[in-house]
């Protein structure tokens, strides 16, 4: 059960090697989480992630889960829920794809869409049903700021996240009043390593637009996303932007007319 501060005791991570998911799991284990299920394709990475979380005192188990194999989701995830309540499901799988190659090879573009959207739809619905039956729990879905206004530079990934985002919002509305809390998390570009934030005194859209992603104050780190998720759980937020200032920036970008947006170097 979650406590008054929304800290779950059991956690299921779909996409068990995701850095954001692992950062979140570490934070939650430091709070109340004792049982963690890491679902993902069997790999040494998954096992080492599980081992690392075990050293922090949680009971960690791994489960075979393939986002592309939607038919198997019901059985693979159903089994987890029969073993006990899951207080929080973190849907964290997704691939960024390679935009240039994906544009040339439609099949690899479809793979991005199937992982990020179709896979998430089936896994999300299976988890939502199970959470609804237990009358409580949070479904946290990692969307992306890239889905808010799809850019030329990564529209294949962006469109799949846009679909996922819309699906999650709809699911949240469908589950309103059932005791299940659905939260969509929209991080900006996640920096590869936890590096110090560049000293940027002022936030402006122009600055964001002009700066490369690595240097932008609107990029984030897995740890910052994890912290925002923990706060969102406490507040029972429905939408979480990381960093929070992205909400304003993306709102402006979202309303930019297309001829202008095309010209922006974002």
């Amino acid at each position: 059960m979650k406590d008054a501060f929304g800290a779950p005791q059991s956690l299921l991570v779909l996409g068990g090697t995701s850095r954001i998911a692992l950062a979140t799991a570490r934070r939650l284990i430091a709070r109340r989480t004792r049982t963690v299920w890491l679902a993902g394709r069997p790999s040494p990475g998954l096992e080492s992630a599980a081992a690392e979380l075990r050293t922090r005192g949680a009971d960690v188990r791994t489960v075979d889960f393939d986002a592309l194999d939607s038919e198997s989701h019901e059985t693979a995830l159903g089994k987890i829920f029969t073993e006990g309540d899951i207080d929080m499901v973190l849907l964290a799988f997704g691939i960024a794809g390679d935009q240039e190659r994906d544009e040339e090879e439609p099949l690899s573009a479809v793979r991005v869409a199937r992982t990020n959207y179709t896979g998430a739809v089936s896994a999300g619905l299976v988890c939502a049903g199970a959470l609804q039956a237990q009358g409580h729990g949070s479904l946290v879905v990692l969307s992306s700021a890239a889905g808010e206004r799809v850019r030329r530079a990564d529209f294949i990934y962006g469109s799949s996240k846009a679909g996922l985002d819309a699906f999650t919002q709809g699911l949240g509305d469908a589950l309103y009043g059932t005791g299940v809390h659905v939260m969509v998390v929209r991080p900006g570009a996640v920096r590869p390593k936890t590096a110090a934030r560049p000293a940027t005194p002022r936030l402006t859209v122009a600055r964001f637009a002009a700066a490369p992603l690595e240097a932008s104050p609107l990029t984030t780190t897995p740890d910052a996303v994890a912290a925002a998720i923990v706060t969102g759980l406490r507040r029972r937020s429905e939408t979480v932007w990381v960093p929070g200032s992205l909400r304003v920036v993306m709102s402006a970008l979202r309303h930019a007319p297309r001829p202008l947006f095309r010209r922006l170097p974002v």
Binding site: M1, A4, G177, V180
Partner: protein
């Protein structure tokens, strides 16, 4: 019997979960509900005044007992009352006061049911004098997991597990209570202001035995030399001759006033540090240094917050956490440390109460033990509160104390065994009585009770 699906929280309005709510009107309907509950079990719920998740059951059944609200017999000569579990203390007072009887124990709100009062084994300002609520229960009827109605009397294991058992041993259907004789519905109240915590502890230690009711409001935002400054209010039921002339005509009248309902949407942080500091300053300064024999009406003395219906909304959407702990006599240093920490952290609590408990109660999970109990109310949105309360838990456990389960919404399960030494007995009795887990609550899941 009406059935609906509802999202429920405790009085603290945190961690909502959804359950099927049944509203049995007879014992048979209650039994049918318990027998027909699914794998997620059932739990009885009264007026929802428990602060945490004790009366919630995610995905299962919740028995709303408030329709079982008949007062069956009243013996006006001896003060013995037989009533259903869904009868509220408010109703009991309305009926009993004109007959010259009063609830044996009343907490800070009278809007609790008799079943809930036994399940949480509530205590009041008279704990040092009269013990907890279940000490005044002569007999109760308990609906067990098999749908059988058992009569349970004090002195048995089942009674001790049920008193303070948070509804996990069965559904309390009715109870026989011994009430307290009063001659008026007025209180004669003595008020003292103390300059700091040491002064408070000394005055409570030396003076409490002279009063039936005693508790102190404590200003937890005061710092420095004023840390722990407080206002002690102690009282007795006023005799008739002491009443003002206008009240002598109807000395037993019970007419609690009421303000309009608190608004549904209150901005979060309304009761933040600044406003609570201001309120506390006003409260402290407006209290007399020493006053004897002030006459107050019963509701004003016992239940001042009840005049604002849904007052729990004032903490905003984020809700609040009630933290109540007790440490034994001789552990005053631990209490001082905790009060200092709370004050240093500037935790905004506007109705923190310190009470000196008397003898412990027989219930296995009953909260009271001889010593000092401090209760405070904090907005759940306070940054870092979760970790801070965890650290207080450790201090409390180290001092041999415990936190109150009926108010809890955030305790770590591993702390429980140290705080409640009879937990193992409780668990084994539950396993024996209810092997399939027909009675479960969010609290029992969270703490693996």
């Amino acid at each position: 019997m009406s059935v609906d699906t509802v999202s429920l929280t405790g009085w603290g309005r945190t961690a909502p979960t959804t359950a099927l709510r049944f509203r049995p009107r007879t014992y048979e309907e209650a039994a049918a509900t318990v027998l027909g509950c699914g794998p997620r079990g059932s739990i009885a719920r009264g007026l929802g005044r428990s602060h945490g998740d004790a009366a919630q059951n995610a995905g299962g059944s919740v028995l709303d007992m408030t329709a079982l609200n008949r007062i069956r017999t009243i013996d006006a000569g001896t003060g013995l009352v037989v009533c259903d579990a869904g009868v509220s203390l408010h109703r009991l007072m309305e009926v009993l006061l004109p007959l010259g009887w009063f609830a044996p124990v009343t907490p800070a709100t009278r809007h609790v049911t008799v079943g809930g009062a036994i399940g949480a084994d509530i205590h009041g300002r008279n704990h040092h004098f009269s013990g907890s609520f279940s000490r005044h229960v002569q007999e109760l009827k308990l609906l067990t997991a098999e749908g059988e109605i058992r009569t349970v009397r004090p002195g048995t294991d089942l009674f001790d597990a049920t008193a303070g058992g948070l509804g996990l041993t069965g559904v309390i259907l009715s109870a026989t209570l011994r009430c307290h004789r009063v001659t008026s519905s007025w209180m004669s109240v003595d008020t003292e202001r103390t300059v700091d915590l040491d002064d408070l502890l000394a005055r409570l230690s030396t003076g409490d035995h002279r009063y039936r009711y005693s508790a102190a409001w404590i200003d937890l935002l005061a710092r420095g030399r004023a840390t722990g400054r407080s206002v002690i209010t102690r009282g007795e039921h006023a005799p008739r001759y002491a009443l003002p002339a206008h009240a002598r005509r109807t000395p037993l009248a019970f007419r609690p006033g009421q303000l309009p309902v608190a608004p549904l949407l209150v901005p979060e942080g309304l009761l933040g540090r600044t406003s609570v500091a201001l309120l506390n300053e006003l409260h402290y300064r407006s209290a007399p240094r020493y006053r004897v024999g002030e006459l107050q009406k019963l509701p004003a003395f016992f239940h001042p917050l009840d005049c604002l219906p849904h007052w729990n909304r004032i903490h905003g959407r984020g809700g609040s956490v009630r933290y109540q702990f007790v440490v034994g006599h001789g552990q005053e240093e631990a209490l001082r440390r905790i009060v200092r920490q709370i004050s240093r952290r500037r935790c905004p609590s506007f109705h923190a109460v310190l009470k000196r408990f008397g003898e412990g109660d027989p219930g296995w999970l009953s909260f009271p033990m001889p010593g000092w109990a401090l209760a405070l109310d904090l907005p759940a949105a306070l940054p870092g509160l979760a970790g801070f309360l965890d650290s207080l838990d450790e201090e409390v456990a180290e001092a041999g104390g415990r936190v109150c389960l009926a108010k809890d919404s955030r305790l770590r399960p591993q702390m429980l065994a140290a705080m409640y030494p009879r937990l193992a007995e409780f668990r084994s009795l539950r396993a024996e009585l209810d092997p399939n887990g027909a009675f479960r609550s969010d609290l029992s899941r969270r703490l693996s009770l």
